[in-house]
């Protein structure tokens, strides 16, 4: 009887095994390994972290990664805000078409997206050629193979994601509120400044943290465009483990931990700044 009563726990086993073996242990192992000296000896050291934050190459990677993640998230959010607001005001066919297109292009990322930009703005891209033929300097000399080019690509995949995340939030804005503001003599602008945006703040912050994490961890587009010739955290991380240069697993683990800390920070800041349900304090 006793064994029978607990036998249902077996159903939990596959799930727990998966999580422990391929989620918890790999992460814990990476964290622990990041404090080991390079070369595989035992011991405790902070050298790996010191090297990340003092080495020029890795400082640059951190700066570039944060810059590109924050900028692409902010730009993505601004466009998404305009788009979601428009969806909120628009009824009918155009809205349906817009929603389908957002869903459709949210699948367009990674290597295919990078290549689409290469044929548009790359060395012999269509727009580059047109720019050169007609003397449009901006197109002819577009710096696609740089952090700025990457930013353009990142913004592209942030927009559909951000818009899809923000649209449901706009549903919480009631028409009565707008009418109330109008009755009290407020303009549309006043409504958004004083009511709309404050109501949406938790959703905006939540979306920001999703976008930030998404951009920080993105690897495929950058790799397809520039291989290892760009200083970004995901690129620097992966080259410590795979590829042609000498592998440095302990040092690489420290890079992975730095990235995880950024991810967790983004989530925590969002949680902290979002007022809890049932009033503040």
């Amino acid at each position: 009887m006793k064994t029978k009563r607990k036998s249902y726990l077996l159903a939990l086993a596959p799930f727990l095994l998966l999580c422990i073996l391929f989620e918890i242990i790999p992460v814990v192992y990476t964290v622990v390994r990041s404090f080991f000296p390079e070369g595989g000896e035992a011991g405790f050291t902070l050298d790996n972290y010191i090297n990340i934050f003092t080495g020029k190459l890795y400082q640059q990677a951190i700066i570039n990664s944060l810059l590109i993640s924050v900028l692409s998230s902010v730009i993505g959010l601004i466009v998404a805000f305009i788009g979601a607001k428009a969806v909120h005001e628009e009824r009918g066919k155009l809205k349906t078409v817009f929603m389908s297109i957002l869903n459709m292009v949210s699948n367009f990322s990674g290597v295919p997206l990078a290549f689409a930009y290469i044929i548009m703005l790359g060395n012999i891209g269509v727009m580059t050629m047109i720019g050169a033929n007609y003397g449009i300097k901006f197109l002819a000399e577009f710096p696609l193979y740089s952090v700025w080019g990457l930013l353009l690509i990142y913004v592209y995949f942030q927009i559909p994601l951000a818009t899809l995340l923000l649209i449901p939030a706009f549903d919480s804005i009631r028409k009565e509120w707008k009418e109330a503001v109008a009755l009290l003599g407020g303009s549309q602008m006043t409504f958004w400044r004083k009511v709309g945006i404050p109501v949406l703040t938790p959703s905006i912050l939540g979306t920001f943290s999703v976008l930030f994490a998404n951009a920080l961890a993105a690897y495929a587009s950058a790799y397809a465009l520039l291989m290892n010739n760009v200083s970004l955290l995901p690129i620097r991380l992966s080259e410590q483990f795979v590829g042609d240069i000498i592998q440095r697993p302990e040092f690489g683990s420290a890079i992975a931990v730095v990235m995880m800390v950024f991810m967790v920070l983004a989530i925590m800041i969002q949680n902290k700044m979002t007022p809890k349900k049932g009033g503040r304090r």
Binding site: F15, F108, V111, L113
Partner: protein, 268 residues
């Protein structure tokens, strides 16, 4: 008042159209590029379907697509089964454990992208079989990556049908808890679960970073095929992108179709 409303309406329309144009531009350019021999001025020249015929007659391409289908379906089925089994314990015996399951299913967000495959690789690359096997690592890593989506889909649907009450009702009619969960609850949520599974499928289908990290060039999926051909021919690359994109669209269109069908049924 009225004119203001009208104006904002036009503004909304323009905003939506501009964003649509921006989002469709790279896709349309890729499509046109795949259909012409040369495009160095405003209009492309030399219409041809050669890129597509070459692609469809390349056995390597079909093999790559086959591998992608296999490597997407196995983790998705396993992951769904694992989560369903775990939710059986949670719903029927220990509702208070849901918090723990939820945390376990949220962690993959914080280790997304390149982090998880690197952690897995560094831990198991020299481990004994079966852990050291790249395919084993690949399947397990995909399962962890799609965990949040599969869990969310299953939990939402369990809540949607009111699983605890369904089980109670079935028990009153003499069914065991096991029977009630697997023969009454699961058939009721299967439609909804299929939708989240298809979204997960689109994620695995478009993956490059995990396959590139864990398998390198050894296991050529469609994405790896694309990456390989990128260095050879721009036109063919565009054709591959178009074909893969259409396949992804079909997968998500199926999910949408099921979703709207499910809604209709509930509305009735």
């Amino acid at each position: 008042m009225r004119t203001e409303k009208k104006k904002s309406h036009v503004g909304a329309k323009i905003a939506i159209i501009v964003i649509i144009a921006y989002l469709l531009l790279p896709l349309i350019m890729t499509f046109i590029y795949s259909l012409f021999q040369e495009w160095i001025d405003i209009a492309p020249t030399g219409f041809t379907l050669a890129a597509y015929t070459e692609l469809f007659t390349d056995p390597l391409f079909w093999k790559a697509v086959g591998r992608t289908v296999v490597i997407s379906i196995i983790p998705i089925i396993l992951c769904t089964v694992f989560v369903l089994l775990a939710m059986y314990v949670v719903v029927v015996y220990h509702p208070e454990w849901d918090k723990m399951i939820q945390i376990l299913c949220t962690i993959p967000y914080a280790i997304q992208g390149v982090i998880l495959p690197i952690c897995v690789l560094s831990l198991y690359s020299s481990a004994p079989e079966p852990f050291g096997d790249r395919m084993f690592m690949l399947v397990a890593t995909y399962m962890v990556v799609i965990l949040p989506y599969v869990y969310q889909g299953i939990r939402n649907n369990l809540n949607g049908v009111g699983a605890p009450r369904l089980i109670e009702a079935a028990q009153m009619l003499g069914a065991s808890k096991f029977y009630a969960f697997f023969r009454v609850v699961i058939p009721n949520i299967m439609g909804g679960v299929t939708i989240s599974v298809m979204l997960a499928m689109a994620i695995v289908f478009g993956d490059f970073v995990i396959i590139n990290t864990l398998a390198g060039g050894q296991f050529m999926t469609a994405q790896m095929y694309l990456y390989d051909i990128m260095k050879k021919s721009g036109q063919r690359t565009c054709a591959v992108i178009v074909v893969l994109f259409v396949v992804t669209l079909i997968i998500s269109a199926c999910a949408f179709f099921l979703q709207s069908k499910g809604k209709d049924r509930k509305d009735r």
